[in-house]
């Protein structure tokens, strides 16, 4: 049930300014508070949106982490697509059955 802890990390980060400060200033201590695998911790250290998506993090949680990392909207969508191309389909969570996705907006296709 490690996905639970990975999502909990991001849930706390999304809603708690103290956690956000800690993420910026003392990430290792913050990571220690959660029961994470090495792959998960590394994805959080590197802000690896694509891998986090493949690991099963819900987009409703992930998109706010991307905003926190100041990743622009269409770049965020593209990072998830790249994650699937690199790591394969989503492994767990609600999206476990989803595929690659494509760009559905005229605005995004221009980028």
């Amino acid at each position: 049930m490690s996905l639970y802890h990975l999502q909990k990390f991001l849930y706390e980060l999304n809603r708690d300014e103290t956690a956000q400060q800690k993420y910026r200033n003392d990430l290792e201590t913050l990571l220690d508070d959660f029961d994470l695998s090495d792959e998960e911790s590394n994805a959080l250290r590197e802000g690896d949106i694509g891998l986090l998506y493949v690991l099963g993090v819900n987009g409703q949680i992930l998109m706010h982490y991307a905003a926190f990392l100041e990743i622009e909207w269409f770049a965020y969508l593209e990072l998830m697509r790249e994650g699937i191309a690199k790591h394969g389909p989503v492994r767990a969570g609600v999206y476990a059955m989803t595929g690659g996705g494509e760009s559905f907006t005229v605005e995004g296709k221009k980028r």
Binding site: R15, G59, Q60, L62, H64, W73, Y95, E102, T105, E107
Partner: protein, 277 residues
């Protein structure tokens, strides 16, 4: 009868957050005009409080204690929890209705088992509707959540039961109350498929909703909904609760699938209130 208004509207964060990226600005402004009309209808109803039945997105509720529904009984809330620059809505305080909400909760609890909360950080699921419906944030708000996010989800027939219980509760108090349900229909929010909309599925759902056809509304199955309407389709629970609460026919005031940058088929509707609900 103290329920004085019932309606539904979309809440996707792009509606405010990506407004500046829209190419089809005519359609966007038509949508905004429909929302402004809804604002005036609520105002004209004389509502003293607005219940917002939302499908929030892991802002307050997580799998460490995920209630089927929760009612806010606080005296004040804050929002948005998201980065204000991202959502394009400034962070603000929103008045609650502690006493009224507590009375409604006690009445609802007679038949439906709600959680309650004295604090709540509103996410886009509530802030986007409030931005259009009470832009001065001067109407007391009672937030409600239905779990549309983390399985096991609230069953559709229980979302209906909740709507009925909420109507009974509203009709048991002297205050005039408006209620809106805010969700999406088919959509794939915050995923690589963001912007995908199944217009056919949406129109079929909206047809059932406007007819307030209980059996047809409750016949959806989560596995099929996920396949045809995405995870966002789970949010039909909020619209179904409004149909149950209103007990009357709906009037679809606006729908478009032509704003995929908003990542949802944009919807505005109101319901007549059946006194015998």
């Amino acid at each position: 009868m103290s329920l004085v208004y019932a309606g539904v509207l979309s809440h996707a964060p792009g509606i405010t957050g990506r407004a500046h990226l829209v190419e089809n600005t005519a359609k966007r402004d038509e949508f905004y005009a429909a929302l402004d009309k809804q604002r005036r209808e609520i105002q004209d109803s004389g509502a003293e409080a607005l219940i917002v039945i939302a499908a929030e997105h892991f802002a307050n509720f997580f799998m460490n204690n995920m209630p089927a529904y929760c009612i806010g009984i606080g005296s004040q809330y804050e929002g948005p929890i998201e980065d204000p620059d991202w959502l394009k809505i400034s962070r603000t305080k929103v008045p609650g209705a502690a006493d009224l909400a507590t009375r409604l909760t006690r009445e609802v609890m007679k038949t439906v088992d709600v959680a309650y909360a004295e604090e709540w950080k509103f996410d886009h699921g509530i802030m986007v509707p409030l931005h259009f419906l009470t832009p001065e944030y001067d109407l007391p708000i009672i937030p409600v959540n239905i779990n549309c996010q983390g399985p096991p989800l609230t069953p559709l027939h229980r979302a209906w039961a909740f709507g009925k219980a909420l109507r009974r509760a509203c009709d048991s108090v002297p205050e005039k109350i408006a209620v809106v349900g805010t969700g999406g229909i088919s959509h794939w929010p915050a995923t690589p498929d963001s912007g995908k909309i199944n217009e056919k599925w949406d129109r079929e759902f909206l047809d059932r909703l406007m007819r307030n056809d209980k059996d047809a509304l409750l016949s959806y199955d989560d596995i099929q909904t996920y396949r045809d309407a995405g995870q966002g389709g789970f949010e039909i629970r909020t619209f179904i609760a409004i149909a149950a609460a209103s007990g009357g026919d709906g009037e679809l005031q606006f729908y478009t699938a032509e704003l995929p940058i908003f990542a949802v088929g944009c919807t505005v509707a109101r319901f007549s209130l059946d006194r015998t609900a």
